[in-house]
Symmetry: C2
Subunit: 332 residues, 2 copies
């Protein structure tokens, strides 16, 4: 039987897309529409201890069950699969190369494997880029043209959208902002003393706190505790977060003078901490960046909040569809 392809068979809101968000801890499965409306969701622990062949079989098995239940309830099967995953990876081919957060996976041909198994079009996007696209299309970034999304979760990465198009770079590694050096001394993160990630990520902040004031932050301190104390009004935690915000601002000033974006959107910790971390960043930006670049750039927390990566993992397909790079099969 011949398979015919066209851009969209059913109406957009009845065309379903399966999203897979593969993280270093959990994997989420999302059933969404071609308009990125989330209809159903589940999650499970990513099989990180397994080699890739076994890990992907387990993920495929979970997807099978997820689709089976979905279809049993009288819903349309998905027409395409959209994946968000951390790099390094070849985005077009959908192959990961020895990802540090999935150390046992080695070279992992995620897209070829899923495509072969499900006989559906599969699109893959770097998770920082997926977050950027989610905010650009559905979050705080609507109306922006040159947008930088900073993850500020456990790690610190960026997704860069320029002239309305996601920018991947020459080896699909653009936006590795967590690796840039901000100071010759400081905490160690991303293999580098004083990297931006060492000052401004979930894993960095707690190291920074202990290094800066070992008398105030004991060995058991966690980033979660620091955040909770800051939100509860603890002056010690607020002062620490203020300094984190100033380091955030120093890094943002580089991006603002280099790329002249109209918006920078800050993910997880920017959402949790809000102005506690964003105001000092804006203050430093005003000192550090040129008026001509800084005056046109808004610094905002991500708007999608906890659903960011649910929408995000659908973005590989959504962006391909919007830019007419996606043709869906009629028969499955």
């Amino acid at each position: 039987m011949a398979i015919n392809f066209q851009l969209c068979w059913e109406p957009e809101d009845q065309t379903n897309i399966l999203g897979i968000d593969i993280g270093g801890t959990k994997t989420a499965l999302v059933m969404g529409t071609l308009e990125a409306k989330i209809l159903r969701r589940t999650e499970f622990l990513t099989p990180i201890a397994d080699p890739f062949d076994i890990a992907i079989s387990k993920i495929e098995n979970a997807v099978d069950n997820f689709i089976f239940d979905w279809h049993k309830d009288g819903n349309n099967k998905p027409r395409a699969i959209s994946v968000a995953i951390g790099g390094p990876l070849d985005i077009e081919k959908g192959i990961l190369f020895s990802p540090p957060h999935l150390a046992n996976w080695g070279t992992a041909p995620v897209k070829p494997n899923l495509q072969e198994y499900f006989k559906l079009p599969v699109f893959v996007e770097h998770d920082g880029n997926a977050g950027a696209l989610a905010e650009y299309y559905f979050g705080a970034g609507q109306g922006s043209r040159n947008l930088i999304f900073i993850t500020m979760g456990t790690g610190l990465g960026a997704g860069i959208i320029l002239n309305g198009v996601i920018y991947h770079g020459s080896s699909d590694a653009a936006g590795e902002v967590g690796h840039i050096r901000m100071a010759d001394q400081g905490p160690l993160e991303y293999g580098k003393v004083g990297s931006w990630e060492a000052f401004c990520s979930g894993s960095g902040i707690v190291k920074f706190a202990k290094l800066r004031s070992p008398d105030l932050w004991g060995p058991q301190t966690t980033t979660h505790e620091i955040v909770q104390r800051a939100l509860a009004g603890d002056p010690t935690a607020i002062e620490l977060i203020d300094e984190v915000g100033r380091w955030l601002g120093k890094g943002l000033a580089l991006l603002v003078d280099i790329l002249n974006p109209d918006m920078i959107i800050i993910g997880t910790l920017g959402v949790l901490l809000g102005d506690l971390v964003l105001e000092p960043a804006r203050r430093i930006l005003k000192q550090e960046a040129l008026a001509i670049t800084n005056n046109v750039c808004k610094i905002l927390p991500a708007k999608l909040g906890s659903s960011l990566m649910d929408v995000g993992c659908l973005m590989a397909v959504y962006d391909a569809y919007k830019n007419k790079r996606l043709w869906l099969p009629q028969d499955q």
Copy 2:
């Protein structure tokens, strides 16, 4: 009489374009073909002491004479005017806003004025971008897709070409790399202690030398002298240039991890000093940038050398023509 427009009337090599490179010291006039072949050139001092109205009249007068002589020799009159100039400016409108290097000009509507006077299409480009486009189309950047051009002349600016398209930014100010802070202490340049321009530009290097080793570099030292001594093999000058190269590498590492370009081309001082300044930069890059980004990025001196801005000032029209944004009038 109606004026008809089309993409190109005569063959490309017989369609002439007038280029104007307006610098803070000199203005060059270039007659070139639509293929950016240089046919004739002249230069004069930029009327920087005059207010804009008078300055632009003097430039227009010089252009008139230049075209008159050209036409008198039996050549086709130019079909369009292409301008390269330093910012800040609105590239599309061709208006400068209080350019620091042309302090008496205030708000300077360069494009509207030239268009009105010559009744020809006028295209304007920022000089850093013009240099980037010249190298991209005709110099070391041929075959590149994501290219950063670093001027490294008197100042330090960048032109950024991503996915084969010049990137202007949200207020036409992308590439202000000279303004980013590299250190908390150091020479003062671009209004900022420790800016990248303070370590790695013609005006910065001499300040850096005197600040670093006042015993070795007297108050009369010039950048020209430092460069000449380094080229002649003087160990003191070579060691200084090596350190400049290391600062260059530290800044390039930021660009490489943020933008993942396949090529970075270094202008004036990179051409003059060659590996004396580029090798230490490459050495630091290898330490500072990620392997996945650094391994795909070549660091090269500009290839067009002294004709860089002659070709560069034709790029506003050339790039518009290549991207089908230019329609030339049939009758003049």
